[in-house]
């Protein structure tokens, strides 16, 4: 620990020579976890924008199929009058999912907030391995560039779906989108994996080794707990995906046959390799990607817990049950991947086991929801923007969680599998859930990042519109799902069964457009407040956790004193003190230092 401390201290002083070298050292190739976190934050926000625009492309096609698609259509398909081609539609949804999952949600949670918050919240001066940390950011760039390139190799992005199911993805020329673009896609995703792996190793070490004196594991804020569990998930699940990715690469490039059965005839050419099994990929892929779903929600849950506790001015309800349920979700998360494959042709007996496990995983989630509500109960709720986003997370996560039960019920899943019911479900978990939590977290920790407040009115407006529009966009998807409306169809309305659904889709698309437009308010707010927002002191929200004892923004080394922790993070409204908050570092009134003789 001490070594790494000096390390980061050195580098804090080295670039002080000024000039470009100084700037680069300080802001570009920085090893300061806060800078890295902020770099992550803004890179991912940029991709968030791109992913959103891709989504608009999808919505446009679904609302007004084959009509002239603004911008994209006119740029790429001028000869066809801006009417996109079907394979471009496949790349639209493939890249939308890819960007949102691998470039936005995972890095913004682990990369941005993990980086920024972990050392601050545990009272460390930096990550355990600052250089590794820097690398974990700069390994995102090969990924950015590779996926960026795949956008510009016809047909402008991989088109085999983000799940990249073979044989479609594993054979050159099986689909337009699975030409070279797919290879770039695989490489890109692998780079993301490497980056996340570096991150998670770093987080684990930091959380285990560099906690401030008195910061026992059960005094960790839930954010840190969730980051900790997430890091474990990543560390165990990622290698599988990486391996699978390489197997698919060799299937494509070297003609191996891991996922290719005998005697396929695709695009009128017989495929040489054989002896493989497409289901193998699905197993490997979901063995990572299902835990990944929790990688994408747990940190959000953690941050929401902190925000709700802070603005209810009340201790979190059932701290330990919360921790246990997080771990429970993580544990069960490893044995439920099969519920993505109920109708995939895998042995139906397996289906039953996975179904039971899946049902069980709803339990810890339920516990968390009840605890959040218990936290609000009997508190003094302050309706700040972060609180609004956090609350909406709870209310939306209820929908996302409950709709999951339908899919878990195998017979029902026979019908709703690969329909918009699924789409509704994971958008409620990932957008209405995680994304809303992320917005909340940005509003919440922004003062700590830049030492200025974000504009509260704009924030509330942003929340209100987003909340309305996202429900307008995603809630009707449940109904579509009940009709059996399948995903990934470029033009569903030539099926008699679905023809009547177009007006509904048009409504949803308009909401989607509104939702993306709303984010302009957010973007402006961020950049405006960065320079014009009111300056704040160390603890604008009157919150307990350690980061609020550091100056905002914190300098290198974070703390201008050695923080010593006396109690858990959620002692709001404690009778011991007359303030309604009780900093973890604040010594108890009478000098009996509580336990943990580290002082």
């Amino acid at each position: 620990m001490s070594s790494t401390t000096t390390d980061s201290q050195d580098h804090a002083t080295t670039p002080a020579r000024g000039g470009v070298g100084h700037f680069i050292g300080k802001y570009v190739f920085s090893r300061d976890h806060k800078i890295i976190g902020i770099q992550f934050l803004f890179s991912t926000l940029l991709w968030f924008l791109i992913g959103g625009l891709l989504a608009l492309g999808i919505r446009w096609q679904l609302a007004w199929p084959w009509s002239n698609m603004p911008v994209i259509g006119n740029l790429l398909f001028s000869a066809e009058g801006g009417q996109i081609s079907p394979e471009f539609y496949t790349t639209l949804f493939t890249m939308h999912a890819t960007v949102m999952i691998f470039f936005v949600i995972i890095p913004i949670l682990a990369g941005a907030f993990g980086n920024f918050l972990i050392p601050l919240m545990i009272g460390a001066d930096d990550m355990a391995f600052p250089t590794l940390n820097m690398l974990s950011y700069w390994f995102m760039w090969p990924a950015f560039i590779l996926i960026g390139m795949s956008f510009f190799t016809p047909p402008y992005g991989a088109g085999a779906g983000w799940t990249s199911y073979p044989p479609l993805s594993a054979m050159l020329g099986a689909a337009p989108g699975s030409e070279s673009a797919q290879t770039l896609w695989l490489l890109g995703v692998t780079c993301v994996g490497i980056s996340s792996m570096m991150g998670s190793v770093n987080y684990l070490t930091t959380i285990l080794q560099m906690r401030a004196p008195g910061m026992t594991m059960f005094r960790l804020p839930l954010t840190i707990w969730s980051m900790f569990i997430t890091a474990i998930l990543q560390a165990f699940a990622l290698p599988v995906l990486t391996a699978a990715g390489f197997m698919q690469l060799t299937d494509r490039m070297l003609g191996t046959g891991f996922f290719l059965p005998e005697g396929l005839i695709v695009n009128n050419s017989a495929m040489a390799s054989g002896g493989g099994q497409p289901l193998l990929w699905q197993h490997l892929f979901w063995f990572y990607s299902h835990p990944a779903v929790y990688i994408m929600i747990l940190p959000a849950m953690g941050m929401v817990s902190d925000i709700i506790a802070t603005f209810s001015r009340k201790p979190i309800f059932g701290y330990k049950p919360m921790v246990y349920s997080i771990s429970g979700i993580a544990g069960l998360g490893f044995i439920v991947w099969g519920h993505h494959m109920f109708v995939s042709g895998m042995n139906p007996v397996l289906g039953m086991t996975f179904m039971t496990a899946t049902m069980m995983i709803a339990l810890p989630s339920a516990v968390k929801v009840f605890n959040w509500m218990g936290t609000i109960w009997g508190g003094k709720v302050q309706f700040t923007t972060p609180m609004l986003f956090a609350t909406s997370f709870v209310s939306m996560f209820i929908i996302g969680g409950l709709s999951g039960i339908f899919m878990a019920a195998t017979p029902v899943d026979i019908f709703i599998h690969d329909t918009y019911f699924i789409v509704a479900h994971f958008h409620y978990v990932l957008f209405s859930g995680t994304a809303m939590a992320v917005f909340g977290a940005i509003y919440f920790w922004y003062p700590k990042m830049f030492g200025r407040m974000m504009n509260e009115t704009a924030g509330k407006l942003h929340f209100f519109l987003t909340f309305i529009f996202l429900n307008g966009t995603f809630y009707p998807m449940h109904i579509l799902g009940v009709v059996g409306f399948p995903r990934r169809l470029a033009d569903p309305y030539h099926y008699e069964t679905f023809a009547q659904l177009q007006p509904m889709n048009q409504f949803m698309s308009m909401c989607a457009i509104g939702m993306v437009a709303t984010q302009i308010i957010f973007a402006i707010n961020i950049f405006y407040s960065m320079f014009r927002g009111p300056k704040v002191g160390r603890n604008p929200w009157k919150s307990n956790t350690l980061e609020w004892t550091a100056p905002s923004p914190p300098g290198h080394g974070n703390f201008d004193f050695q923080p010593i922790v006396y109690r858990g993070p959620y002692e709001y409204g404690s009778p011991e003190v007359d303030t309604d908050y009780y900093l973890q570092t604040q010594p108890p009134p009478e000098a009996e230092s509580s336990g943990d003789g580290e002082t």
């Binding site: 802001y27 800078i35 770099q39 016809p154």
Partner: protein, 314 residues
């Protein structure tokens, strides 16, 4: 610190924007029509108000003349070896593995060039009328060309590399080889000369009816033996000729007193400025194969002479 992240976002923004130009799909630019001109033309071209303009032939022929000519090189060109047979039939095509006959450039002892086609292009429509078409032609008008007149192939080469016929005639496609050939006739949509593609077993034959004519020679090939390649010319009138091994050709009974345009080509290449042409000793202008003969006397003999520069053919 604000610069830190902006920097990051800049790079990625530039990356995306920088790539944008590269993402235009390759397509031909349309040849944009002049639409109001189009509307006017529509009124003219489309029938309806009976504006059936048949190109009226001003003059009547005053008799018949003869067109005789010769195509020669200025010196003996050195003729490259012909194609070599490949595939399983190679042995049958040339038992001694020698190169096949070069039918693409056949030069006679007097440096004459064979397979030069010359045909009448103007006036376009020659009436079926003895004043225009001499009785002697009538006999063969609807003939079926057989035997030595037929279109034949032997030793995996076409025996008549430049075959000319009338659109009213039919021709037998023979196969004097032992192995199977297939004769793929491109035809010419311009004049409606039919395309055809039929397999012909050794010693077998099929009949080809052109139905329409062709404006210029079109290709004939064999898809089993890729090197086999020859030309065919189908004309709506009898006024055409193909030069023999001495480079000589003759068109008899040419309607006299009419301004006429002929066209000359060899192996699909029109004679151009590099050819010095003379008519009765007088220099004759020739552009992209076209040459015009004016005021032809009845019963006269017009002597054409084409001198080719050998180096253009080596």
């Amino acid at each position: 610190m604000s610069r830190g992240k902006k920097n990051a976002s800049w790079i990625s923004l530039l990356l995306i924007v920088g790539c944008l130009p590269g993402c235009q799909r390759k397509v031909v630019d349309a040849w944009s029509p002049n639409s109001d001109a189009a509307r006017q033309i529509r009124d003219v071209v489309e029938p309806g108000e009976g504006s059936q303009a048949t190109a009226g032939l001003a003059k009547e022929p005053t008799g018949f003349a003869t067109l005789r000519g010769v195509v020669q090189f200025n010196r003996k060109p050195n003729v490259p070896a012909g194609p070599s047979a490949s595939g399983n039939d190679a042995k049958l095509c040339s038992p001694d593995d020698s190169a096949l006959e070069n039918t693409f450039l056949q030069v006679g002892p007097n440096n004459g060039l064979r397979n030069v086609a010359i045909w009448l292009t103007k006036p376009r429509r020659i009436p079926e009328d003895p004043k225009w078409i001499h009785e002697e032609y009538q006999a063969k008008r609807d003939a079926v060309l057989t035997g030595k007149d037929a279109f034949d192939q032997k030793k995996c080469v076409f025996l008549s590399p430049m075959f000319a016929m009338r659109s009213t005639q039919k021709v037998e496609i023979l196969n004097s080889d032992s192995m199977l050939h297939n004769t793929k006739i491109e035809g010419d949509p311009g004049g409606g000369a039919a395309g055809a593609n039929s397999g012909i077993s050794g010693g077998g034959k099929v009949l080809y009816e052109p139905v329409g004519y062709s404006n210029q020679p079109f290709k004939v090939s064999c898809s089993i033996h890729g090197w086999m390649q020859s030309w065919m010319l189908v004309r709506p009138n009898p006024f055409f000729a193909v030069s023999d091994l001495n480079g000589g050709f003759e068109v008899a009974h040419l309607p006299a007193g009419i301004d006429m345009e002929f066209r000359v080509s060899h192996e699909g290449k029109f004679f151009g400025a590099d050819v010095t042409a003379t008519v009765d000793g007088e220099p004759l202008a020739i552009k992209s194969g076209r040459l015009t003969l004016k005021n032809i006397e009845p019963d006269s003999v017009i002597e054409l002479k084409f001198v080719l520069d050998a180096k253009n053919y080596e």
